[in-house]
């Protein structure tokens, strides 16, 4: 069985896999920054008392979470040009991942903020802090700590989701696997290799999560 497995083809395609890996890393990183921005704005809207900001944020989050990422991606890639917005596929890809992941990030941040005990808000209110001071000095620094691990979890999901961009011909890691699979008809070699690279990225992010956990654990976060 293994005699059919061509390590040599993998080695020959390594430069291509390397380029794909680099593309996956930087477009994921960029998308994650975008997702953080989208998430923070959505979360801020969602935490308002009035429905004027809250309702659209909730509707957006529900819409994103209820529909497949592939449908969202195809809408942006095939749908938007018909509506008059023509964007390069890389931009569409990063936009799709940011907008999609942002909805999840918004909920993660919201959960982090809501996990801060009521007494923290009351203590800062009682000392005469304004809303902005309370958020900046008391609530967000604490919410930040509880939010880091789930955010890194979301980053792992985002890296895997970025594989879908191969379908709009972005030359990322999965696309490299597809090329080996189709050029030489070697799907086992192609897809096993990219799986190994995704696993590598996963362990990097997981290591980062563990590192941040240890770093945050030393700052006397618990009561």
């Amino acid at each position: 069985m293994l005699e059919n497995f061509s390590f040599r083809s993998i080695v020959e395609y390594l430069p291509l896999f390397g380029q794909g890996l680099v593309t996956t890393v930087w477009l994921s990183a960029l998308s994650f920054v975008g997702a953080l921005a989208v998430g923070i704005v959505l979360c801020a809207m969602n935490l308002q008392r009035g429905w004027l900001f809250r309702a659209p944020a909730k509707a957006y989050i529900d819409a994103v979470r209820a529909t497949p990422l592939l449908a969202q991606l195809y809408f942006l890639y095939f749908g938007l040009p018909r509506l008059g917005f023509v964007l390069p596929e890389l931009v569409v890809g990063i936009l799709a991942l940011s907008l999609n992941s942002g909805a999840y990030v918004a909920e993660i941040i919201r959960a982090g903020i809501l996990s801060i005990p009521r007494g923290q808000v009351e203590a800062s209110v009682a000392s005469g802090m304004t809303y902005v001071q309370r958020m900046r000095l008391v609530i967000l620094p604490q919410a930040f700590k509880v939010t880091i691990p789930p955010l890194l979890g979301q980053a792992i999901v985002l890296v895997k989701d970025s594989a879908l961009l191969s379908l709009i011909s972005v030359a990322e890691l999965t696309r490299a696997g597809q090329l080996l699979a189709s050029d030489r008809f070697m799907p086992a070699e192609g897809f096993l290799t990219i799986a190994a690279f995704y696993l590598l990225l996963y362990y990097c992010l997981k290591g980062l999560a563990a590192l941040s956990g240890r770093w945050l654990g030393t700052a006397g976060a618990r009561t």
């Binding site: 203590a123 209110v125 009682a126 000392s127 005469g128 802090m129 604490q142």
Partner: protein
């Protein structure tokens, strides 16, 4: 104009849904006066003092604090709160800040006192509550009694005119209660205007000018500590005292 106290409740009412948690409260606390509020759980005593700094809003009646009427649009609540220290049953220290940072946070950011000055004052306050050696400790590294003393220092750092205490020793182990009460006595003896929800009779007898007994949202009885503890006038206060004095 009628003479007003530092804290003036006039016919204050408050509801939680159908529940009338404060019933027609009229009570005046003079400057430098220490008033102890006691009563069975659910009697509205915590709600009463939480109204003073606006953690709870009143429904009707007037509540005037330091000459400013609460609920009046002209009253700047954020500003007024800087004059009122509030000590919680559960301390509510900021867990991500050291003891000193807990004490200096509001002075620096709200009072706009220069950092070096605020830190100097903060160290002095922590020394005053007996925690000079815990300046750089995080709340999680402190005992309950120590945390509550930091919380009191945190309030004093704002140089407030009024201090409110909401069952400050109820969450503490018995051996830590006196260290907190000692600090409160010292604050009272410096002439602070205080409202204290507590059942600590020793504290009440030592520093309170008045004890107010509440039941079911209303003030049932009020008098000097000696009058109240030795000669309670109503059946309800007698029943209450017999319960807290049993052991």
């Amino acid at each position: 104009m009628t003479k007003t106290g530092m804290i003036d409740f006039r016919g204050v009412n408050k509801w939680f849904g159908e529940l009338n948690v404060l019933k027609d409260i009229t009570l005046s606390v003079e400057p430098r006066e220490v008033v102890v509020v006691c009563g069975p759980s659910g009697s509205g005593k915590s709600t009463l003092i939480r109204c003073v700094n606006g953690l709870e809003a009143i429904k009707d009646g007037d509540l005037v604090v330091d000459g400013q009427r609460l609920g009046n649009p002209a009253t700047n609540m954020t500003q007024l709160r800087t004059e009122i220290g509030f000590v919680f049953q559960s301390f509510n220290l900021y867990p991500h800040k050291t003891a000193l940072e807990n004490v200096t946070l509001a002075p620096i950011h709200v009072r706009k006192i220069p950092r070096t000055e605020a830190e100097k004052a903060g160290r002095e306050l922590l020394a005053k509550v007996g925690l000079a050696d815990k300046v750089n400790a995080y709340p999680a590294q402190l005992s309950g009694g120590q945390q509550q003393r930091v919380a009191i220092a945190r309030c004093l750092g704002m140089r407030p005119k009024i201090m409110l205490f909401d069952e400050p020793t109820s969450a503490l182990d018995p051996e830590m209660i006196s260290e907190v009460l000692d600090v409160m006595v010292a604050v009272a003896e410096e002439g602070m205007t205080m409202m204290v929800v507590t059942h600590e009779m020793g504290f009440a007898r030592k520093v309170a000018q008045r004890v107010v007994f509440m039941d079911a949202g209303a003030i049932v009885e009020s008098g000097t500590p000696d009058e109240f503890f030795s000669h309670p006038k109503t059946d309800r206060s007698r029943a209450f005292l017999s319960k807290i004095l049993r052991h």
